[in-house]
């Protein structure tokens, strides 16, 4: 009898492992191995082909912290991530609230609001590139109409980052809008009916019903947008290539430049490790906040 049970357990274990095996293999090859390798390479001097030559400890990291370009990259990445995430969230939430109303023809607006989802990064960047053109672009025309001085959107240190944030927010809107709209529509209507009986204002209903009921989705959208923002690449490449003077040189773009254009794989790996740590901290922070909130709600 006892023996039987043991055998059963063993076969269950075997089944569990064999079911897990495929995902372990895939994760191992495509996630864990590259991660470990990146970590090793970040402590090596590499030749032009990216092969390690010698162990140099934390020298790659020290060089990074001492270089102006990395300092600029790091700062602008944080600024970029903060603004593009918050703006995306606020704007798409407002759009979702607006589009959740029951009106004739609302479907048309919902389609319009989510349409940026269908535009690829490259296409979107090129569209915005035209708008930012210093001579024939839309913004330049508007400034002329308003008799304002011309702005060089893509070559001014401050404006170029604003331009990239604007482009990114526009591209993100469609997806965030759609997810948030779904969450808002799933809120039971009777909550609002009760609120109406109490004579709650629009603002009150938004604060007390809509936002709390969709907090899980807001959290999801924040995490996804944040991680996406850290990995921004296409817009930078097409609009500014990291310029002027590294002021739009977001981390992932800097990594690409160092690894594939400058052939300094060691330096690029060191930056990748730093980026991984940053994203990890942010993600953990978010889960911590969420768990705390979740516990509070349960009470």
């Amino acid at each position: 009898m006892k023996k039987d049970k043991k055998g059963q357990l063993a076969s269950q274990n075997l089944l569990a492992w064999s079911l897990l095996l495929p995902s372990f293999i895939i994760l191992g090859i495509f996630v864990f191995y590259p991660m470990v390798k990146t970590f090793i390479l970040s402590m090596q001097l590499t030749d032009l082909m990216g092969n390690p030559i010698k162990f140099i400890g934390f020298k790659n990291f020290l060089n990074l912290f001492n270089s102006d370009s990395f300092g600029t990259s790091f700062t602008v990445t944080l600024i970029f991530v903060f603004f593009s995430t918050t703006l995306t969230l606020i704007m798409s939430y407002l759009m979702a609230v607006l589009a959740s109303q029951k009106m004739k023809g609302i479907a048309l607006f919902r389609t319009m609001f989510s349409s940026t989802m269908g535009v690829s990064v490259t296409v979107a960047s090129i569209l915005w590139l035209f708008m930012f053109n210093p001579q024939i672009g839309l913004f330049s025309k508007i400034l002329t109409l308003l008799h304002l001085p011309q702005i060089n959107f893509l070559s001014d240190q401050t404006w170029s980052l604003i331009a990239i944030i604007g482009t990114t927010v526009w591209m993100n809107l469609g997806f965030s809008f759609l997810i948030l709209l779904g969450a808002i529509q799933a809120i039971p209507q009777d909550l609002y009916q009760v609120a109406d009986l109490d004579g709650a204002s629009w603002w009150m209903r938004l604060r007390k019903i809509t936002i709390p009921s969709t907090s899980a989705t807001i959290f999801f959208v924040t995490v996804v947008t944040l991680i996406n923002a850290f990995q921004t690449f296409g817009q930078v490449d097409i609009l500014t290539s990291g310029g002027p003077d590294y002021h739009t040189n977001l981390l992932v773009y800097a990594i690409y430049q160092d690894a594939f254009v400058n052939h300094s794989v060691g330096r690029a790996s060191a930056q990748s490790v730093i980026l991984t740590i940053i994203i990890m901290i942010f993600t953990m922070l978010q889960f911590y906040v969420k768990n705390k909130k979740g516990a509070k709600n349960a009470n």
Binding site: L129, Q135, N152, G242, V261
Partner: protein, 442 residues
Amino acid sequence: MFKNFAKYTVLTTIGIGALLPLTQVHAAETKRQNIVFWHSMTGQNQQAIERIVNEFNASQTKYKVTPEFQGQYVEALPKFLSVGGTSKAPDLFQSNEISTKQLSTSGMIEPMQTLIKKYKYNTKDLRKNILNYYTINGKLYSMPFNSSAPVLYYNKDAFKDAGIDDLPTNPTYEQVTEAAKKLKEKTGSAKLSILPYGWTFEELLANQNQTLVNNGNGRKKTATEATFNNKAGKNILNWIKTNATAGTLVDFGTGANAGDSEVSAFTSGQIDMFMNSSASLGNIKKNAKFNVGVTYLPHPEGTKANGVVIGGASIWLSKGKSTKVQKGAFEFLKFATSAKEQAQWSIDTGYFAVNNKSYDTKLLKDAFKETPILAAPVNQLKATKINAASAGALITAMSKERVNTQNAMENVINGKDVDSELSKAAKQTTTDIKEANEQTGE
């Protein structure tokens, strides 16, 4: 299991029988030695390169060259470096001029000199200053193929409207600035573009007979520091500053498409003067609806124009390929750089003909007669003095140097100080050169 054995045997036999003729086709094909050729040409230039390959394949029966587009130069180089030395490496590989140092020290390529010696080929017909760029320590490393140099393009009609005389063949910074100011007076908007781009800086420096890095531009021995923090470097940035302050400069920024935006702004009449590679000439000629003027690259007043550095690309041979492949590859290179092929190539694309004899062909002579502006880049090249500055810098950290000088240019346009920007760029380039030397063990 054994029950079905007979069935499987029959099926397999029929299957193999059915596929047999296909192996014959393959065999007939493989009798010709295949030569894989990676290139980075797009659009009009891709058609032109494929025409050369097709003509070569039709001209003989021993070899068959297969052209494969591998993305732009920046994308193709890492691909080559990751397969170099293995059997997957292409036999021939087109790469741009700034990768010369990297490829020559990579140990993945066979210097062209080996084949030149083996097959007793004489390079006397190829243009001397183009050969110079790809020659290191007296050895030619790769075969010149598509070469270009920067020129200044301007809109002759717009000049006439503003009552300005045409620019001389070899203009000065001051003359260009003067014209830009007059155009601004007439039209009310900025009409000159100096793209913040490291390559432009290098060329403007070479035109003042100044090297970019020490040790004879890295050609006598490995360069260890940048040498452009001097009068010549300041001349360039001051010229940019003058025009930026006068409001005569349009800034297209540093994005991947900035160069394309600049060209289309010119052909659509948004700007009237800019500097770009002579390789854009074909495109500009086709799209501009006005009289296009082409001059040499400008130089500061009081300094003699030294001439320009060759840009563009050359073709490299992989190391460790069989004698048969090497022979075929070399046959193809001889064909591709022959007088006739280079003449046609030059007309199709706007690159120079690298073969001197191309200029004696009826094809090119007629083309020059028909469109005289085609001759300007060639004349500039002929007038170029052969020295360390015009040979061009040979360093591994070229891509970093370009970003550093590009940043300096952009910052000056944005109003920063010339002296401090230049010294910052030079200092950073020296650091980058040292780091790269450490990587390559030099």
